[in-house]
């Protein structure tokens, strides 16, 4: 009898490809012979667009990359630009940045856990996770006026100071969150079906992970203790006390455990950040007073001639960085998110390259699912944790 393989086009419209990922599967029955991820369905040319925008104008673009953690993207761009300019944001602004990016890590991991569970068929966890994510989104709303497209960080600091009462709200969230993480774990961690679906599924050895350039919770899941917050600290992360969870064998279950533990560690960091901000003052310096690069405060613009000129210059054509290049990466929820900026001395970058963790991590899909079942492809895609906005940019 003649037998042939079946090609199944999974996506770009599929409930579990987390957006518009398309995976061309070559199947023998339900066994995957080959899986090729195909991307580009959400391509918006952000890197090219950045060449026609000032540095500040690119910040709203970054919100739309990993739209589950907008603050992290803002931070990565701002830090690279600051490196290019050779400036550093005030300490208080940095603590606020740490607080908000750690909250974004919690919310991004909540979305990941909820969608990963729903892919595997455990639907209830999704609603619990989104309940907590909603709290982070309303904190964003309070701080920046937008729930998802925050655009709150600026080169040299923040767009505005944090509103009164925000810290209490964050503190309440940080106090509650570990109990919620326990709640998710009650439903999943020891559940025999959940373990059967995740253990020894989509394994990635430490060697392969490094060879593929995989970063973030995926790399740590494979047992490599590599966290940019520890290895290349930025924003004063070296002053915070937290642990870096790692997995043992690099399967989907390890990655699950690493991410759930990261939720807990992030609440620890956020709690310390709140204390730091309180020490440095409930209100205070949130932006560098270097008016060649950073907007002067609005009150000064209304009273001081010089401030008005600076304001006009920066708003009208942006700041002029020196000729040169800079790369700064941060530990985003999904891995190493880096911005490589090349400046030719004009207010617009000559080139902006984004090292997007989702894009790099997605490469590992083919290796992880070869010879396994269709259902494992879904587990693998879920445990890579991609956001197509970031993959395609």
């Amino acid at each position: 009898m003649r037998s042939e393989t079946m090609t199944l086009n999974m996506g770009p419209q599929h409930p579990s490809t987390h957006g518009v990922l398309r995976v061309a599967l070559e199947l023998d029955g339900e066994t995957v012979l080959q899986a090729r991820p195909m991307i580009g369905y959400l391509h918006t040319g952000m890197e090219k667009q950045a060449e026609y925008k000032t540095y500040t104008q690119s910040i709203p673009q970054t919100d739309r990359m990993d739209y589950l953690a907008p603050m992290s993207n803002n931070l990565a761009l701002c830090l690279s630009a600051e490196k290019l300019l050779g400036i550093e944001a005030p300490e208080r602004a940095q603590a606020i940045r740490v607080l908000l990016t750690e909250l974004s890590r919690i919310s991004a991991h909540c979305v990941w856990l909820g969608t990963h569970a729903i892919d595997i068929g455990a639907m209830t966890v999704f609603w619990y996770c989104f309940r907590e994510r909603e709290k982070v989104l309303s904190i964003y709303d309070q701080v920046s006026g937008a729930r998802m497209t925050a655009s709150y960080f600026r080169v040299g600091g923040l767009a505005s100071d944090i509103p009164a009462g925000l810290l209490d709200r964050c503190q309440k969230f940080v106090d509650e969150m570990p109990a919620h993480a326990d709640e998710y774990e009650t439903l999943l961690s020891k559940n025999p079906i959940w373990m059967a679906r995740l253990k020894n599924v989509a394994p990635l050895s430490a060697r392969d992970a490094i060879a593929l350039g995989v970063t973030g919770p995926m790399l740590r899941g494979s047992g490599v203790r590599w966290d940019l917050r520890k290895t290349q600290p930025y924003c004063g992360y070296d002053r915070y006390d937290f642990d870096v969870p790692v997995g043992a064998c690099g399967d989907a279950y390890d990655r699950y455990q690493v991410r759930v533990e990261e939720i807990r560690q992030s609440t620890r960091i956020a709690g310390q950040a709140i204390r730091r901000i309180r020490e440095l003052g409930e209100s205070g310096a949130y932006r560098l007073r270097d008016f060649k690069y950073v907007l002067p405060p609005k009150e000064e613009v209304k009273t001081s001639m010089e401030a008005l000129i600076h304001h006009f210059k920066i708003v009208a054509h942006g700041f002029f960085p020196p000729v040169g290049e800079a790369y700064q990466a941060i530990e985003a929820p999904k891995g190493e998110l880096g911005f490589y900026l090349i400046s030719d001395g004009t207010p617009r970058p000559w080139r902006m390259k984004v090292r997007a963790p989702s894009f790099v991590n997605l490469q590992s899909l083919g290796a992880m699912v070869q010879g396994r079942l269709v259902a494992d492809v879904i587990t693998a895609i879920g445990s890579i944790d991609i956001v197509l906005g970031e993959v395609d940019r």
Partner: protein, 344 residues
Amino acid sequence: MAALWNQPDVQVAVWALLKVGIILNGMLILVSYMIFAERKIAGHMQARTGPNRVGWFGFMQPWADVLKLFFKEEFIPAEANRVIFHIAPMLAVIPALVTFAVVPFGPGPALVGADVNVGLLVFLAMSSLGVYAITLGGWASNNKYALLGGLRSSAQMISYELAMGLSTIGVLMLAGSLSLVDIVHAQSKVAHVFGLPIPGWYVLYQPVAFVIFMITALAETNRAPFDLPEAEGELVAGFHTEYSSMKFGLFFLGEFMNVISISCIAVTLFLGGWNGPGPASLGLLWFALKLALLLFFFIWIRWTYPRLRYDQLMNLGWKVLLPLALANIVLTAIAIQWVSGAAG
């Protein structure tokens, strides 16, 4: 006219038609409100409220849903096998409905559609027919996801039917009859242990068989954690990916109808059917209560557990449940022999 009415055959026929009408409509309403109950319970399990806009507390929601389905466009994919594509949804509903004919809802002939002396076999036969709907529907759709769903379903239902059939054999050995009415009667004896009344329900005598039956029931009805033929996360919607409008509605109806019919059988076989404390006239109420309990179990499981993988499902069916069911039969046989030997 009067002469015609006096014919006993005519009376039987009219009486039977009446019962069919009542059971059919009763079950359709039960299905729609089970869907409503599922949505409400799921809602409360998931920190939300569920439907509460249509009617009082959302009570008219099922009617709104059905009306919506009727008004949807019927879509038939190009190069689908049109005949089979049309037949499959009907096949999903009819066998599930036929099962209700043999279910004794309460004591007395008025409350059972037909007391067939092989009632259990009718149920097993009808539940096996359900697989055709899914396999044929998946195959006829000319869609790869649907095809995979259909294939999974045929493999799944065949492997779980064996364990299910074997799990009922223990009950048969105890009751000594295939008639569901007789099986319920056999469970009416109340034993007294240390002065406490212990009901004669077979769940107490056949706990392993009951567990196997409930697990296979989940698999037979394609409910989570065995909802592989649908497997939304993997196969989009599995076998009914291409079905729309009321054809999809029929599959949906068939699934819930199956859940109810299989729960009815579980109540009959293991939970003592209409038996319960109080006068016999309360029989229907007891049956309804036990049924509600099992239906809640189905809903509860669905919104708690993730889905098994195809190979794990097969392993569970063939390597765990089937040997367990066989061992249960052997043990039951030994126990019966021992008890009768001790008595004789």
